[in-house]
Amino acid sequence: MLEFDFLTPNRLDESTAILEETGGCILAGGTDLIPKMRNDLFFAPILVDLSNIDELSFIEEKDDQIVIGALTTHQAIAESALLKSTNPALVTAAGTVGCVQTRNRGTLGGNIANASPAADSVPPLLVYDAQIRLLNKAGERTMPLTEFLVGPGMTKLESGELIHSVSFSQLQGAWGGAFQKLGVRNGMAIAVVSVAAAIVLDASGKVSDTRLALGSVASTVVRSPKAESALIGHEPTPEVVSRAAEACAEDISPISDVRSTAEYRRHAAIVLARRVLEQAAAEARGRLV
């Protein structure tokens, strides 16, 4: 039997104090942690359950920033009108996580901290240049999400630290964002490839800003600078978009596993990148005045 201490703080300061004191492992929705523990892939002698910390569960707009608390569930994100109008890619992504039960329990913070290359909420956050805010007993620090994610299951989170929230600036002007995911099956599908894109057009219809992020094709979710620079300054015509999508192949390093082969992932990543960019560009064009 798994034997561990289970601590349930009720306040945020209490949480950081306990984490500092015990060096315990954070438990949020448990949808990653519990299966791992049950399969002997992970063990922690002390679990610190954050589910009572309501102040970590929120989605809010502060100035031009959108801030999402770490304990916000995928379901809450999928249903958020604020996010739908500011980061529709994230809303789409959250809606594809697991099944209803997974979305009701699984949290954004857990998805990020688990640091899977297939984490669905990460590509839409990366294309918004999201920042992550970390808290410990002594204080807090903020860093770009790309920097926080180090490798599969590896992050910059330190012992005694918790994820407080992530934040990103709203896109302005003629912008569009999209997310698509390819799984082996339709329900309860872990991404074989996932792609998110954001595009901002200037008044002449040329790309002034764009970001493309891909999941399940490298050791972390990755941005594709090659694709992005192929777009900047150009009108996103089908040819331009295709070329940019092709370019993302140079920024990824997929592997073969039971879900798919490296060659297929590379191929599908390009196709999905093209579709997502087209979708984002179409949305952006709709916002051109």
């Binding site: 390819l182 082996v184 339709n186 798919s260």
Partner: protein, 750 residues
């Protein structure tokens, strides 16, 4: 059907439904026993190896551990096997597959048993494994069993194959491969046993064949069978995978060894590794036809991987071979089938029992031939389908139920037309495909197949069905109750099923082979008739009326003076005499000598077949190869509907299984030579993967020998699904996939 029925064909409420949805139903893992101990199996970490030594002492010394058992501790026969005695209950000297039971640790709690199981030190000498059945049969490889690596071989010919091909205008040759499939039931295998002070062993099982378990347990423990009581618990799905006695034997052995009560429950990983799967197969097929589409010759050479032990492999090889010509008349055939041992997880019985494999090859070939001949696949099938009176290659003459085939094809034609008119989703390429299927019923000629069941009229008015075969969740009990109620003219509610107990229940034989409603129904109709006669005999004696002046009417005896006496009252007076108003009946699967060819091996031929067709519409993403099955119609002949929702349930579930076979499921070796052994990697369809547009058409072409005309539906609905999907995918993108599952990688060129 226009005739009025009481309950037949209607939607009754399953009597176990409420318990199942509220969680009250007791599966083996739920049965409470006092002083219960737990056993954990020490399994082979190797695919193949020699055991050099087993050191039990470290585990044995852990507080809470009662015993550590290995093969040497089995007092009786250490080997079992339903068809071939080849499987050690605990490995003897050699391990032949990853996960094979080597020892078993019994402790007073599960955690201790688990922990201690890791301390059993087994020393192995690794041996080079073989996984490919063709490779396994080549000289020079490892010899896995004393008699060699061939578990069974079939060589069946009819007509003149050379002449057949000489006559053909078109000859196609292809090789197909189908993967290993897990039954993926919700309840993993388990067993619970208690040694009783009087020397009786009681074993609770989740098993399709408790009476077989009883024999194997008695044999292993060297006990008379009467000393072994096997009880059927609620079963959480079986699909053939629970025609395996291994855990029942080990639980009984453990209880016997500690003189107590012991439970074993497999984890999901153990279930994947160590319980029977559907046979992977490599099928080489050559089909010859005349220019007008007439099939003239079919040759097949097939290798099936039965894994480390035969299980039901040889019997699966039989049905596979017998269904290679599907629902078609082909005058010249030659089929060679090799069932080979390998170091893979064992394959055995699984829903379809050989028929999903043969049909994938044949029904794919037919569409390829149709394309070659520039003929509509439907027209090709219509031209060659079996008709009543046709002789199959086994010599069996097809009976009138083949009349369902033209109906299937007519319906299919209309559906194909309808499907072809549906607009594709943007960016998708659509295709429509179909397949026919034939599935045999029964265990095959010369295999004794008697099924005995008993009816009892209780003094409270209820009628009890003492079912001799377990209801594995498919609703056999409901079918039995409906048939009994209909035959006795009683409301469905008063007929109740008693769970199987080998000490008190009649032997109804194993629940399998699409024949349970058929066997049970026939036995119970006869039992009901005789029960009525007995009731009238008793009533005549009791009331002093001449027997022939009494008649039976819906649960009552009608006397010549018009008086009506409840059967319950008569049962009650019989009970006063210390007797029971009951009647047992045995139905034997009919293989009439005059019409059953006798020249074939034991288990061949099968003489009654079920037929069906499925039509699917797929949308394929031409760039990434994703297949979406958007529409599906399943047309199946059941002879006569006993329970409508149960028939629909069988079809719905089977179609989902068929879609898994078509699109997702396989159990390959992955890195570090481990098998895929969890639902994270072994993907089965979810509700989002079954088509939204989905229709069931039930045909009722009566089977003359069936109860009220009923025949089987348990297996056939998953048989045509995979080839229908493959045919639809070809129609959509022009790519012929000859190996299942149809993954996107196989559909696009990268």
């Amino acid at each position: 059907m226009t005739e009025e029925t009481l309950t037949l064909g209607k939607s009754e409420l399953r009597k176990d439904a409420w318990d199942k949805v509220t969680g009250a139903a007791q599966y083996v893992a739920d049965i409470p026993l006092t002083d219960l101990c737990h056993a954990v199996i020490v399994r082979s970490p190797l695919h193949y190896g020699r055991i050099l030594g087993i050191n039990k002492s470290a585990a044995q010394n852990i507080p809470g551990v009662l015993r550590v058992l290995a093969a040497e501790d089995i007092p009786g026969n250490k080997i079992f096997g339903p068809l071939l005695q080849d499987q050690p209950s605990l490995a003897i000297d050699i391990v032949r597959h990853l996960g094979e039971p080597v020892a078993i640790v019994i402790a007073d709690n599960l955690e201790t048993a688990r922990m201690a199981s890791e301390l059993v030190k087994v020393e192995y000498e690794p041996l080079e494994p073989v996984f490919d059945p063709g490779q396994s049969l080549k000289p020079g490889g490892p010899r896995l069993h004393p008699e060699g690596n061939l578990a069974a071989q079939f060589d069946i010919q009819d007509g003149d194959i050379e002449a057949g091909f000489a006559e053909a205008d078109v000859v196609l040759e292809n090789t197909f491969s189908v993967p290993r499939i897990s039954p993926a039931y919700m309840e993993p295998e388990n067993s619970l046993a208690r040694w009783n002070e009087d020397g009786l062993i009681t074993v609770w099982v989740s098993s399709q064949h408790p009476f077989t378990d009883q024999v194997f347990i008695a044999d292993a423990l060297d006990l008379p069978v009467e000393k072994v009581q096997v009880k059927s618990a609620v079963i959480g799905g079986a699909f053939g995978g629970k025609e395996d006695s291994s855990l029942a034997i080990l639980a009984a052995l453990s209880a016997w060894a500690v003189r107590g009560a012991v439970r074993i429950v497999n984890t999901r990983n153990e279930s994947f590794l160590a319980h029977p799967k559907r046979h992977p197969a490599l099928i080489k097929m050559k089909l010859g036809a005349k220019r007008d589409g007439t099939l003239v010759a079919l040759r097949a050479m097939s290798h099936m991987d039965t894994g480390a032990y035969a299980s039901y492999g040889p019997a699966v090889g039989i049905i596979f071979t017998e269904t290679l010509a599907g629902s078609y008349r082909i005058p010249n055939v030659h089929f060679e089938t090799f069932v080979a041992y390998t170091n893979s997880p064992l394959s055995g019985a699984m829903r379809g029992f050989g028929s999903p494999q043969s049909h994938f090859a044949l029904e794919s070939m037919l569409d390829m031939l149709a394309a070659e001949l520039d003929m509509h696949p439907l027209a090709l099938r219509r031209k060659n389908m079996l008709r009543p009176g046709d002789k199959m290659f086994t010599g069996v003459v097809v009976n009138d139920t083949a009349n369902s085939l033209p109906i299937c094809l007519d319906q299919a034609e209309a559906i194909i037309k309808r499907f072809s008119q549906i607009e594709p989703a943007p960016g998708k390429t659509v295709g429509v495909g179909m397949a026919l299927a034939a599935q045999s019923m029964g265990l095959g000629a010369k295999v004794p197949d008697d099924s005995t069941h008993r009816l009892e009229w209780s003094p409270d008015g209820d009628v009890y069905v003492h079912l001799g075969s377990p209801d594995m969740g498919q609703g056999l009990a409901m079918a039995a109750e409906q048939v009994t109620a209909e035959a006795l003219g009683l409301p469905y509610e008063v007929v109740k099923t008693i769970p199987l107990d080998t000490l008190t229940s009649p032997n109804g034989n194993v629940t399998c082979a699409s024949r349970m409603t058929y066997m049970v129904g026939n036995a119970l109709i006869d039992a009901a008739d005789r029960l009525i006669q007995q009731l009238l005999d008793e009533a005549a004696r009791m009331m002093n009326f001449p027997r022939e002046q009494l008649s039976y009417q819906v649960g009552r005896v009608v006397c010549p003076d018009g008086q009506k006496v409840d059967a319950a009252e008569i049962a009650s007076r019989v009970a006063d005499d210390g007797r029971t108003l009951q009647c047992e009946s045995t139905f034997s699967f009919p293989y009439p000598e005059e019409t059953t060819p006798q020249h074939l091996p034991i288990g061949m031929p099968h003489v009654i077949f079920c037929f069906g067709a499925q039509i699917v519409r797929v949308e394929v993403d031409p760039e990434i190869g994703n297949v979406d099955v958007t529409h599906l119609v399943a047309i199946h002949d059941v002879g006569r509907v006993i329970s409508k929702p149960a028939v629909e349930g069988q079809i719905e579930g089977a179609v989902a299984t068929g879609l898994g076979y078509a699109l997702y499921e396989e159990m390959p070796l992955k890195e570090h030579q481990q098998w895929v052994d969890s639902f994270t990697e072994y993907l089965i369809p979810t509700t989002k993967d079954v088509p939204l547009n989905y229709e069931i058409i039930i045909l009722e072409v009566p089977e003359a020998s069936g109860p009220y005309g009923a025949k089987g539906i348990g297996e056939i609905p998953l048989v045509p699904t995979a080839p229908a999907v493959a045919n639809a995918v070809y129609d959509a993108v022009g790519v012929r996939v000859k190996s299942l599952p149809l993954t996107p990688e196989k559909l696009i060129k990268i």
